[in-house]
Amino acid sequence: MPFKEDKRDPTHVPLITPPNLPIEIKRENEFGTLTSKTYLHQVKSFEGKEIPDPVIDTPPYYISIITYVNYLILIIFGHVHDFLGIRFQKNKYTDLIEKDGMAPWYSVLESFYVRRLKKRIDDCFSRPATGVPGRFITCINRVSHKFNEYFTYPGTTRMCLNLSSYNYLGFAQSEGKCTDYAIKTVEKYGINPGGPRTQIGTTDLHREAERLIARFVGKEDAMLFSMGYGTNANFFNAFLDSKCLIISDELNHTSIRTGVRLSGATVRVFKHGDMKGLEKLIREQIVLGQPKTNRPWKKILICVEGLFSMEGTLCNLPKLIELKKKYKCYLYVDEAHSIGAIGPNGRGVCDLFGVDPNDIDILMGTLTKSFGAAGGYIACDKWIIDRLRLDLTTPNYAEPMPAPVLAQIISSLKIIIGDINPGEGQERLQRIAFNSRYLRLGLQRLGFIVYGNADSPVIPMLLYCPSKMPAFSRIMLQRNIAVVIVAYPATPLIESRVRFCMSASLTKEDIDYVLRHVNEVGEMLNLKLNSGKSSWDGKVQRWDIEEVIKRTPEDCKDDKYFVC
């Protein structure tokens, strides 16, 4: 296709020609070189110890009230807007009302939240990017028109420090061993997936990758799927039915909920991380059995995530295993965010807690995050996997994982294990551990409210007011930092937040830069609300930025500064 640059629709995202950079600079932009050996941290296993319940810091009352009022105003204005609009600007509502005897795709009320709340801040979501989402991400500039009704693209870009991608170990790279292997694989295997795994779609690469993953997570066998969401969404119906019970953490990912709904199993939800509530629920359910018939449940499966992606909290694995054994339940752990990113050897929550992976029945994870690839896996005992290969829909109906992705998985796994380039995997793990701790403690000391565990690379910082979300996101973008903001329904209504995703590709200096800017913006937006509840000494933290940068890199390696 010849280039039609001149005839380009200005509302279309342009294809950006990659800049011609010297290879060293390209490398550096994707993965910053370590600036000093002191900026590494070796995580230690908890050796089977439970973690204390997370301490949740709360903002002053007036913040909660302002937040509610903020929503109230938005909602009232939205309704007034709709009320008047439907009467006087009918042409703007044609898509939302019945037309030619057909229902609209979405009615006025169904889409209220989206149109009147989310649309106002649409410029903070779905920012188009280009190139590698590594240490820096290249955002494509856009201009908003008519309050985000549509965007135009002048064709320029902005290079931002990347705190948004799930690039935990920094494998999002286009230079290095992984890329070389991926390209070699394209030459040998092509890209076409063939057909479903059971018909034609299995290659020796699948076999190799599955064995590697099984070895990595410490299970007998594993299975790969081409999409992480699809792994969960089509998993539970293979072995659960309406006579089975699923006990699910309230914050479990949508993919798990979809999968559970498809299986038809009954679901009971426990409060996030509440192990006492969980035990009570299990006891009650074993006694009560199925609703109406009161027959005992066929099986009970406890579903949790290893690291919760919106909270940065870990599941309390030792306690879960204890409960599971005591009550003969089965345990399913979704390690989407924890595999690769957490633990002394990057092997996820089992590694971090120092528990035997065989105590968990099903380990699920995605390869989209730490490995810079795509897709998901399930790891279990061999006899279970064999049965699942027969009963799961995905390998029988869906497309398999394509070869270049497998190549990325195999090579990145081998780097983490140390089969390729010994030492590199170790360094990546130590860097993400240091980076996560440094940013987390730094933010806390500056006075922000931060959720989650010390070792979590997901660092949610609370903003509360919905109007501070776009403000924060836009100002950070101006300062060349790409962040992700999340609000209701992904979080509780008043706990809007910004989520920093740490990466091994960032250097300590990058994090200094982030801290300085978050500090300034935090002052501006009145975000320093830390009450000291979740700090180690119980004191309100309002450190000076220079002091934070000077002392935190050493302090953050010490567990005593983190309450959980």
Partner: protein, 568 residues
């Protein structure tokens, strides 16, 4: 503060004297008000409330009293809720702690997955029969290993791939892939909403909508997840879905997740559909609903389980007549039907934008890339980007897959030689399979389910032959299985069906060992299927194969089928 309290007490005495009020009410009221006042003053900003209340007492004391009683009732209601819950749970047996322990002790769960060795013996053979492609990609000639490398076949002719067009292996596409990996890496490392969608993703969406002639396109990570996610994003309880009764599992899942009322019409039977739609609309008119429900007709382009083609022009007529929306899964027809591979509408000479409201397609079939997509108008696409779970909560596709798909479509727009070649091959596949059958018994044993323009050919045993040899019918299989499904049995196995599957696999094995040709059973799972279905053999052609090779191979397959069926 002192003055404030004094004020309030006198405030209560301001009550109009015209209506007699028992004095105890006045005193309690004043007392409550006093306590309230003391409390409020301590709370920051509380004096505003006090001022407001005082003012309103002056203006309209009765309103204030009503308001206060409302608040009190609210508090009472709030506090009494847990008790209500408790009483609802009264079916909870009143057990002592010991009895509970005993019950927990007694409870024996089933194993996590079916662990019966007998079941594994009946079904486990399938695992050994999965072909593993060695030392290279899935092309027309492959090296295959089965049964833990105990069987190895070299230079096997591959007649089971779904990548019907060979464009994905062209040098141009492979170079594009390498270039993209060199510039973007492999993974996108984030969902579409959070920096996961890159310029290449947006541009594939433009390319798709341009190629298929729709307003918009939306990309998904895996073809199998698209239908369940899209359909349930638009439907809710009370909406109506009318579906063909031979749709594949992906759409069956979609219907289950849609929460809507689902009706089935007889496969490709337009009279049955017309009648059903008229009845539904009549019933709806009788009900006098406050709003029109969303209504969909759901079908497939080339059917996943039979290779049949949906009669689009009639469907369009009916959808317009009855005011339904048309939802078509074109996983197998995209890139295949029509002179340029634009799918079902091009095949029938229609415009996609005028005929189909929601199209679901796969880039992992004819295009030979990865992922799925939907096509439709702007409004539908916009809502999908917010309401469709598999789009919002999953990482974007790797950049190289979308860049390669763009490249493949660019090639297809300008050059339809591959598609034409595929059409010729499909014809040869069909003609060779059907020709000369008067002179042999093939028709007695198998029926060809597929349309002659489908590149996938499904062969089923005839009902008579199945009944004679395996002693069951389609309905019997369906009834047995749905009964087991209803009972939530962990052992959904029907032996006659298993035997037929084994027989079909024997044909596959024979073709592979004797002629070095790989065909496959249509792998479906009765455990999950909710519609009647029977086993079939699947032969598919790809444009990489030469015509002579194909016709030669089909003859050999035919010969094998004849031989094995007649000797059964």
């Amino acid at each position: 503060m002192n003055t404030a309290t004094n004020d309030t007490i006198t405030g209560a005495s301001v009550l109009p004297t015209s209506i007699p009020i028992p004095s105890f009410i006045v005193t309690t009221y004043s007392y409550i008000w006093y306590c309230f006042n003391v409390l409020l003053i301590k709370v920051p900003g509380g004096h505003y409330v006090v001022d407001y209340v005082k003012k309103s007492i002056n203006d309209d004391p009765y309103r204030t009293m009503i308001e206060i009683s409302l608040i009190l009732y609210g508090i009472y209601y709030y506090l009494s809720k847990p008790q209500k819950k408790k009483s609802l749970r009264s079916n909870k047996p009143d057990l002592s702690e010991q009895e509970i322990e005993l019950l927990i002790e007694e409870w024996v769960p089933e194993p996590l997955v079916n662990d019966s060795p007998l079941d594994m013996k009946k079904q486990g053979w399938r695992l050994e029969k999965i072909p593993i492609v060695l030392d290279g990609g899935i092309r027309s000639h492959i090296k295959v290993s089965r049964n833990n490398d105990n069987e190895i076949y070299d230079n096997v002719l591959n007649l089971s791939s779904n990548n019907f067009l060979n464009i994905c292996n062209s040098e141009r596409v492979i170079n594009k892939v390498k270039e993209t990996i060199k510039n973007y890496g492999v993974g996108a490392c984030g969902p579409a909403g959070f920096y996961g969608n890159q310029d290449v993703h947006y541009n594939l969406e433009y390319t798709l909508s341009r190629f298929f002639g729709t307003e918009s396109a939306v990309l998904y990570g895996q073809d199998f997840c698209v239908a369940p996610s899209v359909l349930s994003a638009f439907t809710k309880r009370g909406d109506v879905i009318v579906a063909d009764d031979q749709i594949s599992l992906s759409i069956q899942n979609a219907l289950q997740l849609s929460r809507s009322t689902v009706y089935y019409f007889e496969h490709n039977n337009m009279e049955s559909l017309d009648k059903l739609l008229s009845e539904l609309n009549a019933a709806e008119a009788r009900e006098n609903l406050p709003a029109i429900p969303r209504k969909f007709i759901v079908t497939e382009g080339i059917f996943h389980n039979s290779g049949d083609i949906a009669p689009l022009p009639d469907l369009v007529k009916l959808k317009l007549k009855h005011k339904f929306r048309l939802f078509v899964d074109e996983t197998f027809s995209i890139g295949v039907l029509g002179s340029h591979g634009r799918g079902l509408p091009e095949y029938f000479g229609l415009k996609r934008a005028d005929s189909i409201d929601v199209t679901i397609g796969s880039m992992a079939t004819a295009f030979g890339s990865s992922g799925g997509f939907t096509l439709g108008d702007h409004v539908m696409a916009y809502h999908q980007r917010i309401g469709s779970n598999a789009y919002c909560f999953s990482a974007s596709l790797p950049a190289y897959t979308v860049a390669s798909a763009s490249e493949i479509i660019d090639i297809m727009e300008n050059d339809n030689s591959e598609v034409t070649k595929l059409h010729r091959l499909s014809e040869i596949l069909h003609n060779t399979m059907t020709s000369d059958n008067e002179n042999n018994d093939l028709n007695k044993y198998v029926v060809i389910k597929s349309h002659k323009d489908s590149p996938v050919l499904h062969l089923e045993l005839t009902a008579q032959f199945r009944y004679n040899k395996f002693h069951y019918t389609k309905d019997e299989l369906y009834d047995t299985v749905s009964n087991l499904q209803k009972k939530c049995s962990s052992h959904i196995i029907f032996d006659p069906y298993e035997n037929e599957e084994k027989f079909l696999q024997a044909i596959v094995d024979e073709v592979l060992t004797k002629y070095n040709i790989l065909i496959t059973r249509n792998t479906f799972l009765v455990k999950h299927e909710t519609l009647p279905i029977v086993p079939s053999l699947k032969i598919s052609c790809t444009s990489e194969i030469s015509e002579e090779e194909l016709s030669h191979a089909v003859k050999q397959i035919k010969e094998t089928i004849l031989r094995l069926c007649s000797s059964l």
